[in-house]
């Protein structure tokens, strides 16, 4: 470890600087006292050796005390606790929800029994802005544990302190905790590039960028590099303490910086922020936030739950409630906020309402609003028709075609504005100016506002038929001009969530469908209702499924039609909606056998092993390995470790001359061709960066896999026995033939 840069701050005093004890500093004679004082101030940069020793003693004490009071922690136990479980998509969502509920209840019981520990945290004055150090303190405690229950308690306690002292900071704290700077749908993100961050760290700590890059490749975490760099350099003066407000405002400013030299100006602002840090820990989380990855195992769901419980506990009536009432209230509040948030995903609106009206008043004041996208309801995958029938038995249900397009949510606002949002709440109005233009034509008169859930599908105007998803992806994403559009799209509407000032989420699907039909007109090639049938036996469903596949669809959606279970549940992958895809049915879905030719270094929980692998198919004609995809899913921790060991022996200096790849997909390390993996993918599509079967299906582009997933190692195959380019091309073509047959 190279020595680290100190700052002058901590040595000199500002004239008129007010110290923690409230006394103005009278420089210059008091230098020695200052250093002694600062050694007792745990907020200060640890810059003095004598002081370091003291801190270590404190650490020891803290550990000893821990057994008595587990929540009391002064120093994070483990700086490199990167292995915390983050949300894994592989886990059944249903299970997560169940776990979550039980955790919520457990915490609720805990909190209701007044078992909140009085922790000796970094404090701030009531009415003033929350110190960033206090938030960092909470981050550290969270990172040090992997128990959801503990994390939730830490957050709830922290929120409660904010509510008591500085409620006006609550919104900013929430945004910092979930590492965002505005509602998701506004699309403003931090995500500063590594290179810029490294420059800023170098600038603010008197180091060289190369040295920082090297440390980064060793640790895989810029936050830790920033922390080490910060701690190593003392400063002349202790900067003013940062507050959550100042940090949040700086983040927004950085994200909004644009135009000439914007990168340079961003770096300057980041370096200034770094210089304002008082401790290495502040620098660590600051850099991680700027990078866009906080990685402390704090899920947004946990933040929501803690927020809800803190709001409840802060209510004046809460103290007078019976223990049972408290528990009930605490257990109920999170689900209320979650439901409201999924309808109206904007903390900008929800938090002020919570502060004013509490959890009880939330539903009344926050409702689905045109202009703000709500998280779409998702369907649960099923593997067979019998599985479907098991679920929906005894209910009235309906089957709809599952079109192979892009999910869309079209909003018409009272003022006539039309917006289209994607499944991820991105504003796609720029991408689909043609739809925006068409909307007024396919609504009936008297429609003032609505929110429509639909599928946007590529449409062949001449043949009057649906085109596959691959065609849709060739559309430009930004600044689409109406006259330049080559791929026309048709909107297939299947649900309506809001109509003329009234949210419809609670209504049954049958009722919503009636409204849907009464509001829209079908126009060929522009708007259609999804094709549906209300069926109830296996044979009919099978026939309908076959028809859907013939009609170029992915399969069927099966939905409960009436009763409370048929309400629209935003953001939920609900079992009241089931999807039956052709690929899920057994016998379909070919796997590919591909060669591993390179890998990307792992980040976060995959630090120290390879996080992703570059795969290639084999072209016997040219004796080339052609890149086809990069995969990181389907790999267990054991796999990752084994593969890291195996491939370490296969690393080569550069790509073989017979590797056909694009610079954009260049891996961090190249391997000898040695192993064949069986990989399953959802689809094949034309790609500008991957080279499989290049020149056969498209003049200059190759083919790549969508959603590739590692299945197993093909021990029985040599690299030359991998799937050939011709086979890949054939599989790609077959997708189209399938649709035409």
């Amino acid at each position: 470890m190279p020595p680290k840069q100190g700052k002058l701050d901590t040595f000199f005093g500002k004239k008129g600087d007010i110290q923690s004890n409230g006394q103005p500093v009278t420089a210059p004679v008091r230098r020695k006292r200052r250093i002694i004082e600062s050694s007792e101030d745990e907020n200060d940069t640890e810059n003095v050796r004598v002081k370091n020793k003291r801190v270590k003693l404190e650490k020891k004490k803290a550990v000893e005390e821990e057994s008595k009071a587990p929540q009391v922690e002064k120093v994070s136990k483990n700086d490199s606790a990167e292995d915390l479980p983050t949300n894994s998509e592989d886990v059944d969502t249903e299970e997560i929800t169940k776990k979550e509920e039980s955790t919520i209840k457990a915490v609720a019981v805990l909190l209701a029994s007044n078992n909140v520990s009085a922790s000796v945290d970094i404090d701030w004055k009531a009415g003033e802005s929350v110190l960033y150090a206090a938030l960092v303190n909470a981050y550290e405690k969270i990172e040090a544990t992997s128990k959801r229950l503990e994390i939730q308690e830490i957050m709830t306690t922290f929120f409660l302190r904010i509510l008591e002292k500085s409620p006006s900071n609550l919104l900013e704290v929430i945004y910092l905790c979930i590492n965002r700077i505005c509602p998701e749908f506004e699309g403003l993100e931090l995500g500063i590039g590594e290179a810029s961050l490294m420059k800023a760290i170098a600038m603010s700590t008197g180091r060289k960028v190369q040295a920082i890059r090297k440390e980064y490749s060793e640790t895989g975490d810029l936050g830790l590099v920033a922390k080490a760099s910060k701690k190593a350099q003392s400063t002349l003066f202790t900067p003013k303490p940062m507050t959550v407000s100042s940090v949040f405002k700086a983040f927004r400013k950085i994200a909004l910086t644009s135009g000439a030299d914007s990168i340079e100006r961003k770096i300057q602002s980041i370096a200034a922020l770094m210089s304002s840090c008082r401790s290495g820990e502040e620098a660590k989380y600051l850099i991680r936030s700027l990078e866009g990855k906080l990685r402390i195992g704090l899920a947004e769901a946990t933040v929501l739950v803690s927020l809800a419980q803190a709001i409840v506990m802060n209510d004046s009536e809460y103290k007078t409630m019976s223990k049972n009432d408290k528990t009930a209230k605490l257990a109920e509040a999170p689900s209320v906020i979650k439901a409201v948030y999924s309808e109206l995903p904007s903390y900008d609106i929800i938090v002020p309402v919570l502060l004013k009206h509490g959890v009880d008043g939330l539903r009344e004041h926050c409702k689905l609003t045109p202009g703000i996208p709500c998280k779409p309801m998702l369907a649960h995958p099923t593997k067979s028709i019998t599985e479907v029938l098991d679920r929906v038995e005894g209910h009235k249900f309906t089957c709809e075609y599952k079109y192979d397009g892009e999910r869309g949510q079209i909003h018409l606002l009272e003022d006539g504005t039309i917006k289209i949002f994607s499944r991820n709440l991105e504003d796609n109005s720029q991408k689909f100016p043609d739809i925006v233009k068409n909307v007024t034509r396919f609504i009936k008169e008297g429609t003032k506002s609505f929110v429509l859930d639909c599928e946007v599908v590529a449409w062949d105007k001449e043949k009057k038929s649906i085109l596959p998803f691959q065609v849709l992806t060739t559309r430009k994403r930004k600044d689409v001009k109406h006259e330049d559009i080559k791929v026309t799209v048709c909107v297939f509407g299947f649900d309506i969530l809001y109509y003329n000032g009234e949210p419809l989420l609670q209504k049954s699907l049958e009722a919503r469908r009636d409204i849907l039909f009464s509001v829209f007109n079908e126009i060929e090639g522009e708007f259609a209702f999804v094709c549906y049938k209300n069926l109830n036996n296996v044979e009919d469903i099978q026939t309908f499924l076959d028809e859907s596949v013939k009609g170029s669809c992915e399969g069927l959606m099966i939905k409960i039609l009436d009763g409370t279970e048929s309400s629209y549940e935003p953001s939920k992958r609900s079992r009241n909606w089931l999807k039956l895809k052709k690929d899920y049915l057994s016998g379909v879905g070919d796997s590919l056998d591909l060669v591993v030719i390179g890998a990307y270094y792992g980040r976060g929980k995959r630090t120290g092993v390879y996080g992703g692998f570059l795969l290639a198919c084999y072209d016997p004609d040219t004796e080339q390995y052609q890149t086809i995809t990069k995969t990181s899913t389907g790999l267990s921790d054991q796999n990752l470790e084994d593969f890291y060991k195996h491939f370490n022996g296969q690393v080569i200096d550069g790509p073989k001359r017979y590797y056909n790849f694009d610079e954009k997909t260049k891996p961090d390390v190249w391997f000898e061709p040695s192993v064949v993996w069986e990989v399953l993918a959802a689809d094949l599509s034309i790609s500008p960066v991957y080279k499989a079967a290049v020149g056969t299906c498209d003049l200059s582009k190759g083919i790549s896999l969508r959603f590739p997933r590692f299945i197993r190692i093909r021990e029985d195959k040599k690299p030359e026995d991998a799937t050939t380019s011709d086979m890949v091309a054939e599989m790609y073509q077959r997708q189209f033939n399938h649709n035409e047959s």
């Binding site: 700052k7 000199f12 500002k14 008197g206 002349l236």
Partner: protein
């Protein structure tokens, strides 16, 4: 009303060279004693303090204290227009909006007049504590510049250790290590090349070479540079041009990992 005439204009040029790498905007504070400037770099790691003594000017008039807020880059552009042998006169009228610079050639046959717009710079004044240093090393400013340049190629930081035997500069880097030891010379006749060490207790401190290299830009001001060190205290690097200018840099030390 402020007016100062400097017969050796090059001094001002050299002072600016010594400061402009570290800070972009700064106040020149004019008072009875002279013109002073104090500024810290953005990272709070280094500080530069300059004093142009009133005695070095002839004449020097300053009837009240005035800060001259200057963008150092702009001032540098104007000073480049002055010849090395020129006499420079600085003038500020009572409005205090602009700084007038007058460059007179040695033969009194060329006069350059320039105006620089001044700005309001909100600057914190920092109290620099008097320190009793454990080690004071005086060496040739050219030698110090060379050491910093040589070691910069090896590492991003240098440890300076002073004992009775001498002063040792040590850099450890990726490629290898570099060590330079200077022994105090007893013979006086070696003149500017000699090294003198005043020591109350040995010190060993580590500093960022990026900043040190920056400081050596002041070498043209003086043949000698003084390094003052004490454990857990910022390094003081001083270039003293006895009659007219004093440039001091402070640099916060690096902290060695204890593990």
């Amino acid at each position: 009303m402020f007016e100062a005439r400097l017969s050796q204009g090059s001094v001002l040029k050299k002072v600016l060279e010594a400061v402009k790498e570290l800070v972009t905007d700064a106040n020149f504070d004019c008072s009875e004693t002279g013109i002073s400037l104090q500024a810290m770099d953005n990272s709070h790691v280094a500080l530069v303090s300059v004093l142009l003594k009133a005695d070095g000017f002839d004449p020097y008039t300053c009837d009240r204290n005035i800060p001259l807020g200057v963008n150092l880059g702009s001032l540098n552009k104007i000073l480049k227009c002055a010849g090395n042998e020129d006499t420079i006169t600085l003038k500020v009228d009572d409005t205090g909006d602009t700084l007038n610079l007058l460059f007179e050639s040695q033969n009194n046959d060329r006069f350059g007049e320039y105006e620089l717009k001044l700005m309001d710079i909100d600057q914190e004044h920092l109290g620099i504590p008097e320190t009793e240093y454990d080690a004071i090393v005086v060496l040739s400013s050219g030698e110090f510049q060379r050491i910093c340049r040589d070691l910069s190629g090896i590492s991003e930081s240098v440890s300076i250790s002073v004992t009775k035997e001498g002063v040792r500069f040590q850099a450890k880097g990726e490629v290898g290590t570099g060590n330079i030891t200077l022994r105090p010379s007893s013979s006086v006749d070696k003149g500017s090349e000699s090294v003198s060490i005043k020591l109350t207790s040995p010190v060993d401190l580590t500093f960022s070479l990026k900043y040190l290299s920056n400081f050596t830009k002041a070498a043209p001001l003086s043949d000698k540079v003084t390094l003052c060190m004490a454990t857990n205290t910022p390094l003081l690097v001083e270039y003293n041009m006895e009659e007219c200018a004093l440039v001091r840099y402070y640099l916060a030390p690096k902290i060695e990992d204890e593990e």
